[in-house]
Amino acid sequence: MRVACAHAPQIALQSVLRGLVDPHEHAAPIALAAGPGGRALLLAVTRTARLAGACLGMTVTQARAIVPSLRVMQARQADVDAAQAALQDLGLSFAPRIEAESGRVFFQVGDLGSLYPNEQAMSQAIQARATQLGLAVRVAIASSKGLARVGTRAGAIVILPGTAGAAKAKLEGLPITVLDLDEETHQTLQHWGIKTVGDLASLPRPEVTLRLGAKGAHFHRLANGMDAEPFLPQPPADAIEEGTAVDYPIESWEPLSFLLRGLLDRTLQRLACRSLACAGLTLRLELDPRGFDLREIALPSPTREASILLQLVHLDLERHPLDTGVVGMTVLIRPARIRSTQLDLYRPNGPAPERLATTIARLSALVGPEHVGAPRVVDSWKEELMAIEPPMVEPAPRPATRGKPLADNLGQQVTLAIRRFRPPRDVEVLIGPTGPAALRGKETTARILVAAGPYRMSGEWWAGGGFCREYWDVHASDGALYRIHQDRETSRWYLDGYYD
């Protein structure tokens, strides 16, 4: 078994750096403080800040005295959780089963040999994928979890051979601290004069166990390239969440979209790692000075395009604008699988499901999601009613018969269509001695040449929305054949549409 371990050092600091939209900000000296105020201690510093003189354990005031341009930030637990979840997604992009611990993810890579020429290339691919997710990781590949964990402390990319002897040979020159010793064991080993892993490995195990107990035996086994820590895979999280906060309230769309785009890019990158797409989006906007606004963005079909999601959010915000500024936002994405389909030899090629899903999402962003779909007949006595349901992304079932013209197949004429006015237009109708004689409305003003009817229809009185109508088909002097009806309760006339 070969196990890879990806370790994101200083994950709290990395979670803060992921939230910085401008890449130039990463080059600035940044420190992570334990709390607000000048007396808070620094928990982590970037390389730039460290080189400038700031170091861990200083207070913010002390660090700023040395590095005036130091930018001090605080990590939110949500950011750290998102970074940890992104690390898990990194593992899921390479293997279906992962095990995560704080700042680390383990996954089996034994069967990835056919995809990469060697384990070095595999490790580089893992690092490249982590960079896409906004994380900097160290990667180690070993025959067990414990050895892989040790490897991540030894360097950026460490490959430990599968056999215990070879692994021991590779580890023996490393300092003893790579074994992540506890304070007591470390002091004891220092007292013994043990400085490298090789020194520890050369000691007799029974003697080490006698003096250091079970912990000592464990470290001795690791030093000898042996480890029996089991790999315990965990199920991935159902939803993907990312959030950010700003120091000042945002009141216009442009800066908001700038932040939102960064969040969506990150979440969609994580989705792509798991070969999934976004099936729905929940946006939580933290309002100034308090409160929040929750928005559900529905998608007709799963997509992975941030611009489409951004456009849908923009449409939603235009329809339901906010009263106050936004000081933070959290995006929760519901993942879904885009199903691949088998091509059928006996039917015409249709659009590829993924391409169609993207097109539908783009159309939804353009015209609104409620205006894209498949029409559906509503079970109602009102003949103008219809509904729209989510479109079918997958190909339709194969037709029973090959296409002959309808007229040939059925031996009948083709259906006469009617164009509906939605909603039915108000119209004035002049009644003559023989029925409707003239129409006047926004759509038309014409004399009626022939009026056929009435066709009385009533119903749905049992459901509370009862109606009683008299329908007429009228041939007007403008040449059109209109469908009109009179509401028997209000005596008002409506233009339903025209035959066409």
Partner: protein
């Protein structure tokens, strides 16, 4: 260029007519209209059907959609006026679950159509512009035609006036010819004229509404050989009314 060299070169040339044949047509439900169009709506081209209200252009559009969808191919309808009647569309042979229906405003129709055609795989994208559209930007039409040619999709426009002009490969003009009300119309059947109660009850049970519409078709643009007719007639029938009558009687 010498004559033998030209003859040699010409052996490598493919006649345009053969190229067109290779691309094929999407047949309509009417053999007469197919004959008029040279097989149906040309694939990879912009086609147009226009006419005044009640000329049957929407019926042609829905019947063409039904014809395509029943073969298992994909089709979409961009509806600028949300004028679709689902019941009748179903009777026109459109499997509603398979139809992608986009209700777009007039300003969004061309963009929506472009997105659909660009997706590829659609045999027919119908663009129902209704009566309100009066002008389509030529640049958008050129782009749409180019995408349709690349994807091999039929883009069928239905409008009150010819809007695509020379950008369409085929333009069909419809004119209302005859309306059949099936039964005697209102004037002879009103109670004011002395029809007894029993007759009135029968009339109300089987009302004399529209049952059929006939239209004449003329090909305004498109390939037509000398021996082909310049036009034909189409008949559209009202199915719901007929069925109600059958059930009633």
């Amino acid at each position: 260029m010498s004559v033998p060299a030209f003859a040699q070169l010409s052996s490598f040339l493919i006649p345009a007519r053969r190229l067109e044949k290779k691309r094929g047509h999407l047949p309509t439900p009417w053999p007469a209209l197919n004959e008029l169009l040279g097989g149906g709506w040309p694939r990879g081209e912009l086609s147009e059907v226009y006419g005044p209200r009640s000329s049957g252009r929407t019926s042609v559009l829905y019947a063409s959609l039904g014809e395509v969808l029943k073969t298992g191919a994909a089709a979409a309808l961009v509806d600028a006026e949300s004028a679709l009647d689902a019941r009748r569309a179903e009777h026109a042979g459109i499997p509603l679950r398979q139809l992608l229906w986009v209700c777009a405003s007039q300003s969004q129709t061309l963009k929506s159509t472009e997105l659909l055609v660009s997706a590829g795989g659609f045999a027919l994208v119908a663009l129902d512009l209704g009566d309100s559209a009066s002008h389509l930007p030529p640049t958008a039409l050129i782009r749409l035609r180019q995408i349709a040619q690349r994807q091999g999709t039929v883009v069928l426009l239905a409008a009150g006036f010819p809007l695509a002009g020379s950008f369409s490969a085929t333009a069909v003009h419809l004119q209302q010819k005859n309306v059949d009300f099936g039964r005697p119309a209102c004037p002879r059947l009103r109670p004011q004229l002395g029809v007894d109660d029993h007759a009135l009850a029968q009339i109300l049970a089987h009302p004399p509404l529209v049952t059929a519409l006939a239209s004449s078709v003329s090909l305004e643009r498109g390939r037509r050989s000398a021996e082909q007719a310049a036009g034909c007639s189409l008949v559209f029938q009202e199915p719901l009314r007929e069925r109600a009558r059958d059930e009633g009687t």
